[in-house]
């Protein structure tokens, strides 16, 4: 049987080519391919929406500006620091980063796609709990997982110590896997980041029409065959987008790799900046990171372009789940338990043990106060990110111009950049704005504006958007793509304005994606450390800052209380996300 036999029937799914790539004159034909019926209306659908277009460009410029400021400092001379880096460290930074990213992506795919398939298509023991438990590791900051796991596995940790006392071995007489290695970093990062892949594949598998896999089965495909020939190819764009998120977060990670004693480009940025005292060399390294991010975004865009699906009928019967009992059911359960254990159960139980041994010396009151600050920043950032994403994605949907397409891509680079790089860019911008308003104030001889708190809080929220809004944009973009264009055309032909289409058609249809995007940004902000540490106002500490304060004194046991609080704050949104996915079925 040729692979074509497995292709979905034409009347359910139509594959359109990407419009962004085509010159304007060819647009109408795309409309036909995409399910549109009327060439005249397609023209109408493109008019209007100038405000959205402008908003989209403004968002992109603002979000990318800290990045641009940092890259601009390339024009200065690095005083030999770059040369020194190239001679001594750069190749190992680059190699480690390459291995790390490849390894984390591959492992995240394994840990995310397989359980998602099981959960979406089969009923097996433990499935109801595992379905939502599988997203929980996203609530665990990877630096926290890293220190819990290294603490557990290191030579002086409980496992090796009891192994030695059982066997009488001494140092050097036995081999034990070290968490403080490239392999350890890959496992730790993948086990906390795979939920991106899991969520994307769950949504994709859950949203596929039963008729497609029915057709596959009728044509003799096994259930594995359905997965490989039908479900995976259909889910590919969504999975690719999620994997890109994983890759970017891996590149930007500092805490976990530092803990695992792995030198990457990002730890190199720190070393160049603070060790070699060369901000320029740090900017040069950052530019290298941006270049990698650009490549990742481009690869993902290409993957998406090659394939696009519209469910033309809004009602398509969802696939049913077949029941698997007995030892095979237990095996499925075990496969799904593994990622949850790695990313959640093991680190959390170690933290619980540590915090019982030695709780935070300042008590729960302080932790609660910091938690309130974390919550405030996270709620604000999540909401803003959803708004920004709606503007950026809808603007491109309405206008479909190269500029809006590029704007949409540019907004996503920030996710790969290390937090401090974004933070320093924001500082530079804010400082020049401050100086400018200050001189403006002085020229009118008025009193000086005293808005320190407000300003640094704005700086911080700005930095979060610059870094995280790409996540929300990616998710909402993905959801928007599954809405057929014919819907826009019909609405416009019935007299709705561009804004009307966005508010009354798009926003309600992608509301679950809006919520999901906001929640993911929420969780990321709760976990975020470097930008928070650098930009926050006076007397304003968050849970992540508390973890840092104790961890920097190497009081990891006492840091466990605040670390658990971070996880607790993150769990609620993760459960909400999970429930939304289930409801989508």
């Amino acid at each position: 049987m040729s692979p074509r036999d497995g292709d979905p029937p034409e009347h359910h799914t139509q594959v359109g080519r990407p419009e962004a790539q085509l010159p304007a004159t060819q647009q109408p034909s795309v409309e036909i391919a995409a399910g549109g019926r009327n060439q005249l209306r397609s023209k109408q659908a493109k008019t209007g929406g100038w405000l959205w277009f402008a908003g989209c460009l403004v968002c992109a410029v603002v979000i990318a500006s800290p990045l641009a400021v940092v890259i601009a400092s390339l024009l200065h001379d690095s005083g030999g620091a770059w040369q020194h880096l190239v001679e001594t460290r750069l190749s190992s930074y680059a190699l480690n980063t390459a291995i790390l990213v490849t390894g984390v992506c591959a492992l995240s795919l394994a840990l995310g796609v397989v359980p998602a398939w099981f959960v979406a298509r089969f009923d097996f023991p433990g499935r109801p709990v595992l379905a939502w438990a599988l997203v929980l590791p996203l609530a665990v900051p990877s630096y926290v997982a890293a220190y819990a796991v290294t603490d557990l596995l290191q030579f002086s940790g409980p496992i090796q110590t009891s192994l030695r006392s059982l066997t009488g071995w001494t140092a050097g007489e036995y081999w034990f896997p070290s968490a403080r290695s490239l392999g350890g970093a890959i496992v730790i990062l993948a086990s906390t980041l795979y939920p991106y892949v899991y969520i994307a594949s769950r949504i994709a598998f859950g949203g596929q029409c039963a008729a497609m896999s029915e057709a596959g089965r009728t044509l003799g495909l096994s259930s594995n065959g359905v997965l490989i020939r039908i479900a995976l190819p259909l889910a590919r764009p969504a999975i690719a987008a999620a994997t890109m998120l994983v890759a970017m977060e891996t590149i930007a990670d500092f805490g976990a790799v530092e803990y695992c004693a792995v030198d990457t480009l990002t730890t190199g940025v720190y070393r160049a900046w603070f060790g070699l005292d060369s901000q320029v060399a740090a900017a040069q390294l950052s530019t290298l990171i941006v270049a990698i991010a650009v490549c990742l975004v481009a690869v993902e865009a290409v993957l998406r372009r090659r394939q696009r699906h519209y469910n033309t009928t809004s009602r398509c019967a969802r696939d049913y789940r077949s029941t698997i009992a007995g030892w095979r059911g237990v095996a499925l359960c075990a496969v799904c338990v593994l990622p949850v254990s790695l990313g959640f159960v093991i680190p959390v139980s170690r933290l619980v043990y540590l915090t019982r041994e030695m709780p935070d010396p300042e008590g729960l009151g302080l932790v609660l106060r910091y938690g309130q600050n974390s919550l405030l920043l996270a709620v604000a950032s999540g909401s803003i990110a959803a708004g920004v994403a709606l503007v950026v994605v809808c603007a491109h949907r309405i206008r479909r111009q190269r500029a809006s397409y590029i704007a949409k891509l540019v907004c996503r680079f920030g996710y790969a950049l290390p937090g401090p790089v974004i933070a320093i860019g924001v500082l530079m911008l804010a400082a020049s704005i401050d100086r400018w308003t200050h001189s403006a104030w002085r020229s009118v001889d008025g009193p000086l504006p005293t808005h320190q708190l407000g300003r640094t809080l704005t700086d911080l929220l700005f930095a979060y958007q610059s870094r995280f809004s790409g996540i929300a944009i990616g998710i909402i973009d993905g959801s928007m793509r599954s809405i057929g264009r014919s819907l826009d055309d019909s609405a416009r032909s019935l007299g709705l304005s561009a804004t009307g289409v966005v508010l009354r058609i798009h926003a309600p249809l992608v509301r679950r994606a809006l919520l999901g995007g906001a929640l993911l940004v929420f969780v990321d902000v709760v976990k975020e450390l470097p930008a928070t540490l650098m930009l926050r106002p006076f007397n304003f500490d968050t849970l992540a800052v508390r973890v840092y304060q104790l961890a920097s004194e190497e009081r990891l046991g006492e840091a466990a209380t605040a670390a658990l609080a971070i996880i607790a704050v993150g769990i609620l949104p993760m459960v909400l996300v999970s429930r939304e996915i289930d409801r989508g079925r």
């Binding site: 020194h84 001594t88 460290r89 290294t150 290191q154 030579f155 002086s156 090796q160 001494t170 140092a171 403080r180 530092e258 004693a261 030198d263 720190y270 070393r271 900046w273 603070f274 060790g275 070699l276 005292d277 041994e357 030695m358 300042e362 309130q372 600050n373 405030l376 709620v379 604000a380 909401s383 401090p420 933070a423 320093i424 500082l427 530079m428 400082a431 401050d434 100086r435 200050h438 005293t450 320190q452 708190l453 540490l533 650098m534 930009l535 926050r536 106002p537 006076f538 007397n539 304003f540 500490d541 800052v545 840092y548 304060q549 104790l550 920097s552 004194e553 190497e554 009081r555 046991g557």
Partner: protein
Amino acid sequence: MSIALAITALVSTWLATATSHGDDLEVSVYSARHYDVDRQLYERFTEATGIRVNVVSGKSDELLARLEQEANLSPADLFITVDAGRLYRAEQRGVFQPHDSTTLNARVPDELRHPDDLWIGLTRRARVIVASVDRVEAGVRLSYEDLVRPEWRGRVVIRSSSNIYNQSLVASMIEHAGPEAAEDWSRGLVANLARKPQGGDRDQIRAVAAGEGDVAIVNQYYLAQMMLGSSADREAASQVRVIFPNQDGRGTHVNISGAGLTRHAPNRDNAVRLLEFLLSDEAQRTLAEGTQEYPVVPGVILSPILANWGPFKADLINASMLGANNPEAVRVMDRAGWR
């Protein structure tokens, strides 16, 4: 809608509690010291003087970057950091102004403050050798240089060269013996390591206690804090003993944490008062007790643990040189392959 209302309410109550009060009874601090005892001292200062203390704590270099970017509009009055190398860096960037307080200068020995009053030490810390009680004989005298001899092959543990404490140690060697000697020493040390540099100073102590290495180079207060810590930490600390290196030569490498008055300090007088408070006998004793560091003011009582370890000869190198040699030290360690 109700969510939006709740958020608005949350934000407004929070803004009301957190905004500054607009009078001049305050002092603002950027601090790279994260100790809980620091915060307790600030509270005591507020009780005594009525001056509120605003704090942003963070990583030294990042706070310095913030201070530089904010320039003349910075709200910060004091910059507090650990390691002389960082004080030097801040001084070089021109973010400090002289405090001109004779009270302060009378309390702190010359080598622990800037000659032109640009910064002043708050606490001292010694970078000592920690040795296994089982595998290193008692009473042995060691120097940093001894640890690169062949008999220590595979027995030394130390953290990464990214750490400023190691950078300052190598910077002091560059000052005493030149960059070539410092690079030879670094190479020798790397050759003698029991494992790839990893973890923090406490992890090195734990590694020695567990037998992964026999000696470690760490800051003394980590060991003292472990002696007061969880049961596992106390157990590990009991497996090791402290050796003050180079007692027959230049003395043990000593570093400081310190503070400088910022160039554009809006509350200059309050900041000097806070510094005077932090260098009072009472505050110095609280600092030493709280973090197990050494006080900078002579005659202040040490914590019981440090008193028990006894007096030692400290390397009296000018603290500024640690900063001046820092970039060279990083390059030396990079070339030596010290991760």
